[in-house]
Amino acid sequence: MSSITWFESYWAGIKHEMGGKAASLGEMMGAGLPVPPGYAITTVAYASARDAGDIDAKIAHHLDGLDIRDTDDVTRRCALIRDHIRTMEIPADLERDIRTAYDVLSARSGVADVPVAVRSSATSEDSPDASFAGEHDTYLWVRGGDDVIDAVRRCWASLFTDRATCYRVEMGYDHRTVEMCVVVQKMVRPKSAGVAFTLNPIDGDRSQVAIDSAWGFGEGVVSGEITPDNFLVDKVIREIGRRIISTKECEFRLSDHDTVEKVPLDPERASAPSLTDNEIKAIAVLARTAEKHYGCPQDIEWAVDADLPDGQNVILLQARPETVWSKKVPAARASATSGDFMSSIVSTLMSPLYSRDSAGSSEKK
């Protein structure tokens, strides 16, 4: 029972304190899939804030005699509840814990007042109504302890949207049993970003990870606006078999007003590799780990965070199943499946397979 749980400390036994989103981030971290670092402000924290702020009484007061068909009245009453939650005092020890965790995250990122995303993580399994929370409960580029505290309270307040509140009333659920966890997670500030396939998209070779990479945010790689660098890495011995460095004429980066903008690059940076060898290998390991974790070839989005230290800076943003090659039935292997091993040896000696061009020197070009 603790108010703050870092993703890496997550285990299945505390899932009920975390909510779905935070639990899945914790699970990924535990599986070796590094998501942007952060922590959960658990349902325990919400419960203690609720108790200290006497919210239950306020809610009861504001909702007394509510007619959910009177939408104007619902809106007015819910706004009052949310205002109350957004402005309430948080118990001092809880507020200190939230601020301390934020400071630790800033220190780990090497950035004072590190920008974070603050979002709600509902415990939807136990209380389906809570899933309504979450429509407007994500706050990006939040900086500084005060703003984090404010965003956390806004997330809690989002339990009392008009729709969620009406639903609970209709279903006869007690507003006092609603729980909420809030996730605070570092905003990724990508030095470079892109996609990776856990197979070679050209020939379906499953021993390879193919990586497309460009400077800055991954938008340009995903949309095809930027011709990315391309790397082919062996999954098993983790050697980089092919590297094509493209001229990446622009990069997507963060503007002064926290939006992503496209900026041209000087020629030197444009033609420089957007990843180091260690980063390439780390992305390959990440992609293979995701493939093993999900049990099928994956298509992932990743970023190399500019703030995090080497060795912890390759971040998984998204993973989804690869669909093209995964559906193909592997071609029959003439020499492998037909006849005995001697026929295979004969055909090996007869076929020009082992001419260097087809056999090993792709990396020599």
Partner: protein, 605 residues
């Protein structure tokens, strides 16, 4: 870029080497008699085994080796697409050409090949067990050859009283003829398994490339490579002796200076004497180890040049004293090999593929110990004995004034020696003056002069018209010759590839450091800690320096060359088969070796 190499008939004779043809057998040189055939073939210089000029006698083992290889392909196994390898010597250098089987015969050869090769594969362990017995017997026979000066009077007991009926002159002539026949037998044994071993390896290799088109050659090799390989044993013995010296408190003796001084100190104590005994135990057979390819009489053999193992042991003692750990990470290598196999296996998508992979990997692992180990038994141990016996014979000729020094014997062609022996024997029998003392010294001096002149010119990498694509499996596997290397030769060097030198990605990793370019084993003591070794090729006996260097670059050799195998063992980056590294890189120049991509970058101008 040219599309062909010079005709062997257009290659000029180096200045001062006129008449070099007389140093070699009439059938081993290019001649007008076979010009049409010889001009139609593509010849490459075998820098993997014979990078230097051959002396007349040293050509023997070259010829024995190549003809034995051919014989197994054509007459024993009927390898369907490949006949043998034809050979020539040009300006003292060894050239080879693969001879394909006639298209029309290939089909008919398949059945026989499957029967014959299949028998070997099915009974491999049993036959290999027999091979180990045969090869040890053969070394024993070689050792037992009695090559001794002819006595003034035959022994009463051994010859007269025993009723033996033949004398020492007969024995000496016979011993040389047996030395030759045992040498040929040695090379017959050598190829009893080798090509089959490579065929099974190629089949497994081809399968890996089929299921994983981009799999690095290195990964394929790593899954098969043995961990306890006899070829590493000499180095392991050095390390053992270094540890023994330290543990028994005699390591101080190695500070005494040269071998003589060290031995004097060792012999003064019981512990020292038992160390010497232990050294002698290791020496036979493990220090019958050449510091070269084993194919040259000039290669130094540890057991005859004890300062070489002593120097290595002294270095190892120093490393131990500095807190170093000499152990090869055998467990780690083994665990890594298992990891690699399991992970590729996991990536296969069907049970059929997994079954085929396991079968082929299994066969490759069955055959590979021979591929890895035979080199010690043949090129090192047996050849060491052959060179020793020949030098003993040389001493006899020196005593009789035929030669100036024992090594002069290697300036006689193998079939001239029976004539010289006859001369020596008949003169002893009569007795009467032999012609040899008037005949051979001048001839040897002239031949030495020619060899010196031949050595001043590097060999052309190839002759004649290259095939469009190099597909001959043994050429690629045994010699590392590919369409790429042929094109690089035609391009004339590394200038074409933008400053980077390309070769085989033979052992992964990246290292930077000052280069140390060495051309022969005599120079290996020049290598300093952290330097990058750049050499025409390396020999297994250089193993002790692999603990010092940062990476290796060679001119010749492929994925399975000694440099590649040893570097993988030591976890050092290696780029092999660059063609030009020793002529493009200077000692002291900083270079970056990328053994994962097969590139060498010059960092200094």
């Amino acid at each position: 870029m040219a599309d062909r190499f010079p005709s062997p008939f257009d290659v000029p004779v180096p200045e001062g080497a006129e008449g070099w043809q007389e140093l070699y057998g009439y059938s081993s040189i290019f001649s007008e008699d076979r010009r049409e055939y010889e001009d139609s073939m593509f010849w490459f210089q075998d820098g993997v085994h014979w990078p230097q000029v051959l002396t007349p006698w040293d050509a023997t083992l070259f010829e024995y080796a190549i003809a034995s290889l051919s014989q197994y392909n054509t007459r024993h196994l009927l390898v369907p697409p490949a006949n043998g390898i034809d050979y020539r010597i040009l300006n003292g250098y060894a050239y080879l050409t693969p001879v394909p089987a006639p298209e029309a015969e290939i089909g008919a050869r398949v059945e026989e090949f499957m029967k014959r090769a299949g028998f070997y594969f099915m009974n491999w362990d049993d036959l290999y067990g027999k091979w180990m017995v045969k090869i040890r017997d053969l070394v024993g026979e070689l050792e037992s050859l009695k090559i001794a000066a002819l006595p003034d009077v035959e022994s009463f007991e051994d010859v007269v009283e025993s009723g033996r009926g033949v004398g020492s002159g007969y024995d000496l002539i016979d011993a040389y003829s047996r030395l030759l026949s045992l040498s040929l037998k040695l090379w017959q044994y050598h190829f009893e398994f080798l090509n089959l071993g490579y065929a099974a390896y190629l089949d497994y290799f081809g399968f890996c490339k089929q299921v994983f088109p981009n799999i690095p050659d290195l990964a394929i090799a790593k899954m098969v490579a043995g961990v306890d390989v006899d070829l590493f044993r000499p180095d392991d013995e050095l390390k053992r002796l270094a540890r023994l010296a330290r543990d028994s408190g005699v390591s101080e003796a190695f500070a005494a200076g040269d071998v003589e001084a060290t031995c004097a100190v060792l012999k003064s104590t019981d512990a020292g004497n038992s160390w010497i005994a232990s050294f002698q135990e290791s020496a036979e057979p493990w220090f019958n180890f050449s510091n070269g390819s084993g194919f040259y009489h000039t290669d130094k053999i540890w057991i005859e040049n004890v300062e070489i193992p002593f120097d290595f042991i002294r270095n190892y003692i120093n490393m131990l004293n500095d807190g170093g750990d000499l152990a090869r990470p055998i467990e780690a290598v083994r665990a890594e090999r298992d990891r690699i196999v399991n992970e590729y296996m996991e990536l296969l998508t069907s049970d059929e593929d997994r079954e085929a992979f396991q079968g082929k990997l299994g066969l490759a692992r069955t055959v590979f110990p021979y591929v890895e180990n035979h080199n010690f038994y043949v090129e090192h141990w047996s050849h060491s004995v052959i060179w020793r016996k020949m030098r003993t014979l040389g001493e006899i000729f020196v005593e009789q004034g035929f030669l100036t020094e024992p090594n002069d014997i290697f300036y006689l062609k193998r079939n001239e020696i029976p004539d010289a022996l006859w001369d020596l024997y008949a003169a002893w029998a009569t007795p009467a003056p032999a012609r040899g003392p008037k005949y051979w010294p001048a001839k040897v001096a002239e031949r030495k002069r020619i060899v010196t002149a031949l050595k001043t010119v590097k060999p052309l990498p190839a002759l004649g018209v290259p095939p469009e694509v190099v597909t001959e499996p043994f050429t690629v596997m045994l010699w590392g010759i590919t369409s790429d290397s042929v094109n690089a030769w035609l391009g004339g060097g590394p200038g074409d590839s933008g400053g980077a030198i390309k070769g085989f990605a033979a052992s992964p990793g990246v290292a930077e450091g000052p280069a140390r370019v060495i051309f022969s084993a005599d120079q290996i003591n020049e290598i300093q800690d952290g330097e990058i070794l750049v050499a025409p090729l390396t020999a297994p006996s250089w193993a002790p320096i692999f603990g010092k260097i940062g990476a290796t670059v060679t001119d010749t050799g492929g994925m399975m060359s000694h440099a590649a195998i040893v570097c993988r063992e030591y976890g050092l980056p290696a780029v092999t088969g660059t063609g030009f590294a020793t002529s493009s890189i200077r000692t002291g120049q900083r270079i970056r070796v990328d053994g994962s991509n097969g590139t060498v970058t010059l960092l200094d101008d």
